[in-house]
């Protein structure tokens, strides 16, 4: 199935992030009968925003299973399956639902291989969606990667592009460890080149999404899109920021960040979650520990305000940071930042459409 690891030589075409997830599931299930998909809604007409579309028709209800609303119990059932030779993919339409299963994830999935001295493996993927937008509110829009990334024994990934989401989902399913697979809902309609054939993207590598020598931006998931939007406009003003899509919250790949910071001397970290005890602080800490002498300014973080997500669009309007926030932070870190026309640059990246949806094509509820 994986004659071409990277997929570079495979014919590719443009599909969306959501379609890339679906393709990864179809392809892995077709090759390996041990792969199962289990979740609330995986076989219903909406099929997790079409990411499990057609699976039950093709592979049957034994392998594509609707589940009771029993997140902790069913996570345990999936761990039992994984210990017995299966490769379950458990799906939560909102990452917030996975909080009900923290006991099984942390006490069992993350520990069994270790505590049983390698005699047990738990090849489990937990797909979890970050909901954000259109009134999702405080219990449907959290970005909880830091909770999972704290735990040894788990892998935590947050692919940004259609290419990466397909390759990383295939890698996650084939991995013998529990992988927390976090998908941001605002990426679902993002289009990009995706090879038709199956391929793998490693679960332990960050990637340079855009190179630059003036400032290092380490970023996750949807914030990568905002960073690239800011970078494109800033480039027209002679500012070259390096955007590093971290992709993985555990194990964190610091190598490209350290390499970049040694050149730029400036670090800006973007996260879709909160700052306190979060992954952005972890990146800053690691840079300070290993490359302190290269920093010419204190690092900056862009994260969510330190309170729960409100529901009303009037309250969420400035809750989420975006490309404009990134531009302002970049200018504040640059040595000659104040000489650049901040308002003019901001205006060019400023969103004109409604801010509670990723693009005007979106119609709620979702």
């Amino acid at each position: 199935m994986h004659s071409d690891e990277s997929g570079k030589n495979s014919q590719s075409r443009e599909i969306t992030y959501g379609q890339a997830i679906l393709e990864a599931l179809h392809q892995t299930m077709a090759v390996d009968p041990a792969v199962m998909v289990i979740g609330e809604g995986v076989a219903d007409p909406k099929s997790i925003f079409k990411t499990t579309d057609g699976l039950v028709e093709k592979f049957g209800p034994d392998r594509v299973t609707e589940m009771p609303l029993a997140e902790n119990g069913m996570t345990g059932v999936c761990i039992g399956l994984a210990m017995s030779g299966f490769r379950p993919v458990l799906v939560h339409q909102r990452i917030d639902f996975a909080l009900l299963s923290m006991d099984q994830i942390i006490n069992n999935a993350a520990k069994l291989h270790y505590v049983f001295n390698g005699q047990v493996t738990v090849p489990l993927v937990v797909r979890m969606l970050v909901g954000r937008g259109w009134g999702q509110g405080p219990q449907h829009a959290q970005s909880l990667q830091a909770l999972f990334a704290h735990i040894p024994g788990l892998k935590v990934v947050m692919p940004t592009t259609p290419h990466d989401v397909k390759g990383m989902l295939i890698s996650a399913i084939e991995d013998n460890n529990p992988v927390m697979f976090i998908e941001h809902r605002w990426l679902y309609n993002l289009k990009g080149d995706v090879p038709k054939e199956p391929y793998r993207v490693p679960l332990d590598r960050a990637v340079v999404a855009k190179s630059g020598k003036d400032l290092t931006v380490a970023t996750y998931s949807h914030m990568t899109i905002e960073a690239i939007a800011a970078a494109r406009v800033l480039a027209e003003y002679g500012v070259e920021i390096e955007v590093i899509d971290m992709r993985v919250a555990r194990p964190m790949d610091m190598e490209p960040v350290l390499t970049s910071v040694k050149i730029t001397g400036k670090l800006l970290v973007l996260d879709t979650g909160w700052a306190s005890c979060g992954v952005s602080g972890e990146i800053v800490a690691r840079v300070v520990e290993s490359a302190f002498k290269y920093l010419s300014k204190p690092p900056l973080r862009i994260t969510l305000p330190d309170h729960p997500a409100p529901t009303s669009q009037h309250l969420t309007d400035d809750y989420y940071p975006d490309a404009e926030t990134v531009v302002n932070a970049v200018l504040s870190l640059l040595d000659d930042g104040e000489k650049l026309p901040a308002e003019e640059i901001c205006q060019r990246v400023r969103r004109t459409s409604l801010r509670d949806i990723p693009n005007p094509a979106y119609v709620g509820p979702f």
């Binding site: 029993a70 345990g76 039992g80 399956l81 006991d103 001295n117």
Partner: protein, 324 residues
């Protein structure tokens, strides 16, 4: 598949119980030495359930346990040597020293996992049973838990799903009436647990856990049903924990339960009951008991010897197996 006759196979059931009793007594005797440096939850007094249930299982059937699982592990055929070495934190322990008494495994015997979070293994056992069903294997999965676990949500989630999918899994409730020091009447209303399991769609059984023949007979029926596709079974066995929740001592002086005398315990002793039956129905005499004691004591002695000969795990290996 393994099928036991609870009447004719009493000597084997007695042997299984005696092995657990003597192994745990040996642990209790040496626990004060502070060389077994992990919590131990001993099941002395409760051996009838482990022995009676596991006698009905084949090696390929899997058993999941809990924090008090020496008995389940041994009755399923788990290696006594590696269990003792594990409690001593040795490299040859069944978890290489990573687990201790509360984490036991012996895949070669079909003992899949014991972990100490109450309810932790219940859904795992359901997953393992579902795997048997999906692979069309005629095996059963068994999970042991206490009356306290019946209060955990995950147990009910697991029962609901097991009944929904007709999964070959046996839920074995060892009801000793105690969660640590808190009695059942402080935790559950006065209704039978079997009524709730039945409402979940499970077949239910209730019996005297201190009567190994009754345990074996009821389990034999339940295993046969589960193997032939009738789905999950719930068995509640009443029993009595002789020692404290954790450690090697009788702790009735704490006053958390009535001061129950030696006679009270012995009247409920599964070994004593089975022993009387062996004398009466099998004509066992002192020599027969002595011969079995000798066999068991030799195995126990050898296990402690195995453990003390085992090397300590290497400190530099402590991060191994964080990931597969």
């Amino acid at each position: 598949m393994n099928k036991i006759d609870s009447t004719t196979d009493l000597p084997a059931l007695y042997h299984s119980m005696l092995r657990i009793r003597r192994a745990e007594e040996a642990i209790a005797m040496r626990y004060h030495e502070q060389e077994m440096r992990c919590p131990v939850h001993l099941c002395i007094g409760e051996e009838g359930i482990a022995a009676g249930v596991c006698a009905n299982l084949a090696v390929e059937d899997v058993v999941y346990g809990n924090h008090r699982s020496h008995g389940h592990y041994l009755a399923k055929g788990g290696s006594l040597n590696t269990m003792i070495a594990e409690i001593y934190g040795k490299a040859d322990g069944c978890c290489g020293g990573r687990g201790g008494s509360m984490h036991l495994i012996d895949n070669s015997a079909g003992f899949a996992a014991a972990v100490p979070i109450v309810g932790g293994t219940v859904p795992l056992a359901v997953g393992a049973g579902w795997a048997f069903k999906l692979k069309q294997q005629k095996n059963v999965s068994v999970v042991f838990f206490g009356d306290g676990c019946f209060e955990e949500g995950v147990l009910h989630e697991a029962m609901n799903f097991a009944a929904l999918k007709k999964i070959p899994v046996l839920f074995i409730c060892e009801n000793n009436g105690m969660s640590v020091y808190t009695s059942l009447d402080q935790r559950q209303p006065g209704r039978p647990m079997t009524g709730i399991a039945k409402a979940h769609g499970l077949e239910v059984y209730s019996g005297d856990g201190n009567d190994v023949q009754e345990v074996a007979r009821l389990t034999s029926e339940a295993v046969a049903k589960s193997r032939r596709g009738d789905g999950p079974q719930f068995l509640e066995f009443r029993t009595y924990r002789w020692l404290g929740h954790v450690g090697h001592e009788v702790d009735d002086d704490l006053g958390y339960r009535p001061d129950e005398s030696v006679e009270f315990r012995e009247a409920r002793c599964p070994l004593k009951k089975a022993g009387a039956e062996l004398i009466e129905k099998f004509g066992w005499g002192d020599d027969d008991f002595a011969a079995l004691e000798k066999t068991v004591n030799q195995e126990v002695k050898a296990a402690f010897k195995f453990s003390s000969a085992s090397p300590d795990p290497k400190p530099e290996s402590r991060g191994d197996y964080s990931y597969a």
